[in-house]
């Protein structure tokens, strides 16, 4: 009987201690909302390496603005977007946050972001950011985001394979050139395919280049689909001819490679000679492979519209509910324009939008970084009509494009049929406002 009584005491003791421990660990957390003049909450997507860089940059800011501190929260992109949406539902967005160009339309329209209007050219300086800067973040009457970095589109090539067949990447100017080069290169220097298949990833970026070259846009100003079936059919037909010639990576090979990220993709492991992707990824690709890589701009047909060039922005916004809008604005200006901060964060998110920063960074870049920056600066000199803001259904469009591509690639549907379904679904997902 007595030892059972002791057991009851230990029961209560353990339960009590556990509760106390829970309380103590909870107290370490502090309040979740930033009080006025408390530390700002800054959020970005990426990995630990990027987070470390930006923490150092924030430390610089803190030194320069005594007392204005900021805490960084980060997660990988999908987890980041999920958490952002959840926080927004609770009215708890971080004070300063990086925003995807695919989501700015939605967040801007919902009015959960701070309107930069009162701060432009007073606290936040946009003079060096290029004339596309403000249109990239303008939704309706307010400016809800500004670009900190730009990325571009490009073709990256396996240098030994190119040299083996005497193909010069810089000579590839049109899509026909690219097709010919891919056919030429398939199988050289140990590769199996001439070109990786970019259509298997659910993304509208690759389609967007083609669509713009044909004088159309992905989205109308009213938010509906701005592209025609014929354009999309021509796009898929181009890839299909290479698929039939066994020069394009087959569907299952590409899908498997897509699951492994950069380290496992076909170019990096040497299975593919050419690859279409975002130009800021040249440096990353080079870092994971021993194969020397070179890059060139995306090809365009001779009769393509001249101002098709576009540069998806990496945007920065602030929360409409922030208790420290002035400090937030100062921090945003810091990330946009401060050269010392840029010397720490460099090209990790893309090419910095400020031309002054680019000038300052140029001498410190390594070979592939220099190649990327030189190319994007050259491209940015080309005429480029404004990029439409992604409307609310944009992420759905990504999925629809991905589905159509997979159906075509796996031979589950003919190209006209798949595109017809895509157009119908796109009209439903993107209602014209």
């Amino acid at each position: 009987m007595s030892h059972k009584r002791i057991r009851r005491r230990t029961f209560i003791g353990i339960a009590g201690a556990a509760g106390l421990a829970a309380g103590v660990t909870a107290c370490g957390g502090g309040g979740s909302n930033a009080e006025p003049d408390g530390p700002l909450k800054v959020a970005l997507w990426g990995d630990a390496t990027r987070a470390a860089m930006y923490r150092k940059a924030i430390a610089l800011f803190t030194k320069a603005h005594q007392g204005d501190t900021a805490n960084l929260q980060f997660a990988d992109l999908d987890a980041y977007l999920e958490r952002l949406a959840t926080e927004s539902a609770a009215g708890d967005l971080p004070d300063v946050l990086w925003m995807r160009d695919t989501h700015i339309g939605r967040y801007g329209k919902a009015k959960v972001l701070l309107d930069y209007g009162p701060y432009l050219d007073k606290t936040i300086h946009t003079a060096d950011l290029g004339k596309q800067a403000i249109p990239n973040g303008k939704i309706g009457d307010g400016v809800y985001a500004l670009p900190t970095h730009y990325v571009g589109q490009c073709v990256i090539g396996n240098k030994p394979a190119l040299e083996d067949k005497g193909v010069k990447l810089a000579d590839i100017k049109t899509w026909d050139d690219l097709a010919a080069a891919a056919k030429e290169l398939g199988g050289s220097a140990g590769t199996s395919y001439g070109l990786s298949d970019p259509t298997m990833a659910s993304s509208h970026r690759d389609l967007e280049g083609w669509v713009r070259q044909h004088g159309e846009e992905l989205f109308t100003p009213g938010g509906g689909p701005g592209f025609t079936a014929d354009t999309v059919i021509a796009y898929y037909r181009w890839f299909d001819q290479l698929r039939k010639a066994k020069v394009l990576a087959p569907a299952d090979v590409q899908v498997q490679a897509n699951g492994a990220g950069s380290a496992g993709d076909l170019l990096a492991v040497g299975k593919s000679a050419l690859q279409i992707q975002s130009s800021n990824q040249l440096t990353q690709e080079q870092a994971v492979t021993k194969i020397p890589l070179v890059m060139t701009s995306l090809p365009a047909a001779a009769d393509a519209s001249k101002d098709w060039w576009f540069f998806p922005p990496i945007l920065i916004s602030a929360s409409a509910k922030t208790k420290n809008p002035e400090t937030a604005a100062k921090l945003i200006d810091f990330f946009l324009n401060d050269i010392n901060a840029a010397k720490i964060t460099r090209l990790n998110q893309g090419a910095p939008s400020s031309s002054k920063i680019l000038d300052a960074l140029l001498p410190t870049l390594d070979k592939s970084e220099k190649a990327f920056v030189t190319q994007i600066r050259r491209e940015q000199k080309n005429p480029s009509r404004p990029l439409p803001i992604r409307p609310e259904g944009a992420s759905q469009l990504d999925k629809l494009i991905g589905q159509a591509s997979q159906q075509i690639a796996y031979g589950k549907a003919s190209i006209p049929k798949a595109v017809e379904q895509l157009m119908a679904a796109a009209k439903k997902a993107l209602p014209e406002q």
């Binding site: 829970a22 909870a26 979740s32 990027r50 923490r55 929260q73 990988d76 987890a79 539902a89 990220g261």
Partner: protein
């Protein structure tokens, strides 16, 4: 006659033993072969943690061409905070959750399984119903709730529910176990003058040890591996648990550091494995008496 019978019996006995030995050997063979198949993916992960990043995809075999401890060194400090912090955070949350679940779930289970009260059927159905709704749609209202009482960026939303028997899985598990215990034991204790609480404390709880061990192990492991909860509630990197810290190695817009991630995943398995081994002993000490005798 008896001699012949004895001989026949002996031969039958001998063949019985041989049959038993053969079946035992087969049992061993199956278990070992299967075990290797089960383990292969884990062995691959351990092997990859010793390969440099670019070798993981180019040489998919089990044995690394170049052995390197680089991944472990890099991974340890990847977030600027030593990984041990995350182990400690995870351990703390998991251990407290175990305590919470063991006590709250056993209490609730006993009440459902042995006590009669109005609405028992309804409440039991509601309890099962709580696990039938996908968490993705409950997550947002819960977050709003916890945000309203200022519990975000603390461990409270992760730990307090465990003291309130929120895990219907374990309540139901223990209900099934308690139902397997003969009522005569309860009755005997009640004759001796125990009230329901006494019966719970003296009779049921000790006999529930395998179920408690299962609850402890599973709570620990599932809490340790929980990603979504810590992701949305913890924003300070120093508070991260292991799965959230592992997510920091992934970069879907850049290069994922697979090597260090595998290395830290391997390390993260060790505490789980140790907990499991330790709890196994509780699991094995079966019920010495199912008591009717």
């Amino acid at each position: 006659m008896t001699a012949i019978n004895a001989e026949v019996a002996a031969r039958r006995h001998g063949s019985l033993i041989r049959r038993r030995r053969i079946s035992r050997t087969w049992g061993h063979v199956i278990i070992v072969a299967f075990g290797l198949i089960m383990l292969y993916p884990l062995l691959w992960m351990v092997a990859s943690s010793f390969k440099p990043n670019n070798e993981i995809f180019t040489s998919p075999g089990l044995w690394p061409h170049t052995w390197s401890l680089r991944n472990y060194l890099d991974g340890w400090n990847q977030l600027g905070i030593p990984f041990s912090t995350f182990f400690i955070n995870s351990f703390l949350i998991a251990a407290i959750s175990v305590v919470g679940n063991i006590f709250s779930c056993s209490l609730a289970a006993y009440t459902f399984a042995r006590l009669r009260f109005r609405l028992r059927g309804l409440f039991f159905a509601m309890m099962i119903a709580t696990i039938m709704l996908p968490f993705q749609v409950v997550m947002v209202p819960q977050y709003i709730l916890f945000h309203a009482i200022n519990w975000t960026n603390t461990y409270l939303p992760l730990v307090v529910p465990k003291f309130l028997a929120v895990d219907a899985f374990f309540v139901f598990l223990m209900v099934q176990f308690i139902r397997g215990l003969p009522r005569e034991l309860d009755d005997a204790a009640m004759v001796d003058g125990c009230g329901p609480i006494g019966v719970f404390w003296r009779v049921i709880l000790p006999l529930l040890r395998p179920a408690l061990a299962v609850t402890a192990v599973f709570t620990f492991i599932w809490t340790w591996n929980d990603f979504l909860g810590p992701l949305i509630y913890l924003t300070d990197a120093s508070k991260y648990t292991v799965p959230v810290a592992l997510n920091a190695f992934i970069n879907s817009t850049g290069v994922t550091a697979w090597g260090p991630m595998f290395a830290m995943s391997v390390l993260s398995l060790l505490p789980l494995f140790v907990v499991f081994l330790f709890a196994q002993r509780q699991l094995i000490q079966g019920i010495a008496t199912t008591g009717i005798k």
